[in-house]
């Protein structure tokens, strides 16, 4: 098997990855994960709407 045939010319390369030990996370995924954590914290701390009469 040929070890490294050329890639097609128009291949979109990655969006940037964060390597930490064996952890390999894409920046877009990190943004989504952080957004989910923010929503979770907001759901905990934002006060419930007060009952209307």
């Amino acid at each position: 098997m040929v070890s490294s045939p050329p890639l097609p010319p128009a291949i979109p390369l990655d969006a940037g990855f964060v390597h930490w030990g064996f952890v390999n996370l894409s920046v877009p995924n990190i943004i989504v994960i952080v957004a989910m954590l923010v929503v979770f914290v907001l759901a905990l701390v934002v006060p419930f709407p007060q009952d209307r009469p």
């Binding site: 098997m1 045939p5 050329p6 890639l7 990655d14 894409s26």
Partner: protein, 322 residues
């Protein structure tokens, strides 16, 4: 009876009007608009599918090497086992051999189905003679020819068949070149796509051949989509992928799974076990006390606890019961 707490009838509670249909319709419209806007602005890139033609155009020598490995019986497909053949038992979890149990449900003869049958549709006399010579040879002879050619290709730095030294290759070079001719012409996809029903098409053979080569794997690696790159979580290009699959793909990165031949079945079994644990958390001693330790419920219901300080004192002094 003094001290007894009586729960009032639900009709005695105060009520207020609430339009559930309005909430449902509002949520539906807002979410539909968000989906349309985000799909248009940052939707998945939907890259063009890899075809045999693009493979042949960008990595022709890989097509030849892959066809040769199919003929030699050394490709992944040729040695995969069920559901394609009986070359091995497939993955096992101890005595549990799921692949073997389900058997060969989609028989694929790598040499015949992926190379010989398509190439035999070429009408030129040299290819026809090569296919006839292949079919008349013994299995041992076929294996010798194909392995000789595969080894010779491996000795050429860029895999160029034109640079291969002369040797005992039988009809293999002509057949492998025929596969490349079909791929370049764009007809190999169709020849490898079978149809078992009137409307359905089955691209299994085409995908198997593509996966046996290096071309698709190299593209996957370049886009961080391979299994050992947390690829299950990733999307091609500059887009978020499936971060909720982090735990599933996590196991593939660490031993013993990262070095196991049975990683797929092991990870599947582990995730099934963890899913059961998660479903039964309320009944598992120790785990079911985590909410009492975290006390997140105090944060959620902080207004109520502010008005009932005695409840806080009670939970601090009373041993937790489940």
């Amino acid at each position: 009876m003094a001290g007894r707490v009586v729960t009032p009838d639900s009709h005695a509670f105060p009520t207020r009007r609430y339009d559930l249909v309005k909430e449902f319709v509002t949520a539906l419209v807002v979410m539909a608009l968000l989906v349309v806007v985000f799909a248009a602005a940052v939707g998945s890139p939907d890259e063009k599918a890899i075809t045999m033609k693009s493979w042949a155009a960008n990595a022709p020598f890989d097509v030849v090497a892959t066809a040769t490995s199919e003929l030699a019986g050394t490709s992944t497909t040729a040695g995969y086992g069920p559901p394609y053949n009986r070359a091995s038992d497939g993955q096992a979890l101890g005595p549990i051999t799921l692949q073997k149990w389900f058997g060969v449900t989609h028989p694929v003869n790598a040499a015949t189905d992926l190379v010989i049958n398509p190439v035999s549709t070429l009408s030129d006399s040299a290819t026809q003679a090569a296919v006839a010579q292949w079919k008349q040879a013994s299995a041992d002879q076929q294996s010798t020819w194909a392995n000789n050619y595969a080894n010779a290709l491996g000795k050429v730095s860029d895999g160029d068949p034109a640079k291969v030294a002369t040797g005992d290759y039988g009809p293999v070079p002509v057949i492998a070149a025929g596969e490349l001719t079909l791929a370049k012409g764009g007809s190999l996809d169709g020849l490898l796509t079978t149809s078992s029903t009137f409307y359905g098409t089955d691209p299994t053979n085409a995908l198997l051949l593509l996966a046996d080569g290096s071309y698709m794997a190299n593209i996957a690696n370049a886009e961080n989509l391979s299994g050992d790159q947390w690829g299950m979580m990733n999307e091609s290009g500059h887009y978020p992928g499936q971060p909720w699959l982090w735990l599933y793909t996590f196991w593939y990165q660490i031993p013993p799974f990262s070095t196991s031949d049975n990683a797929d079945v092991q990870v599947m079994a582990l995730m099934m076990l963890l899913s059961l644990v998660f479903a039964f958390v309320p009944w598992i001693p120790g785990l079911n006390k985590i909410p009492h330790g975290l006390k997140l419920y105090r944060l959620v219901w902080r207004n109520w606890y502010a008005q009932h300080p005695e409840a806080v004192t009670a939970t601090q002094t009373t041993p937790t019961r489940v």
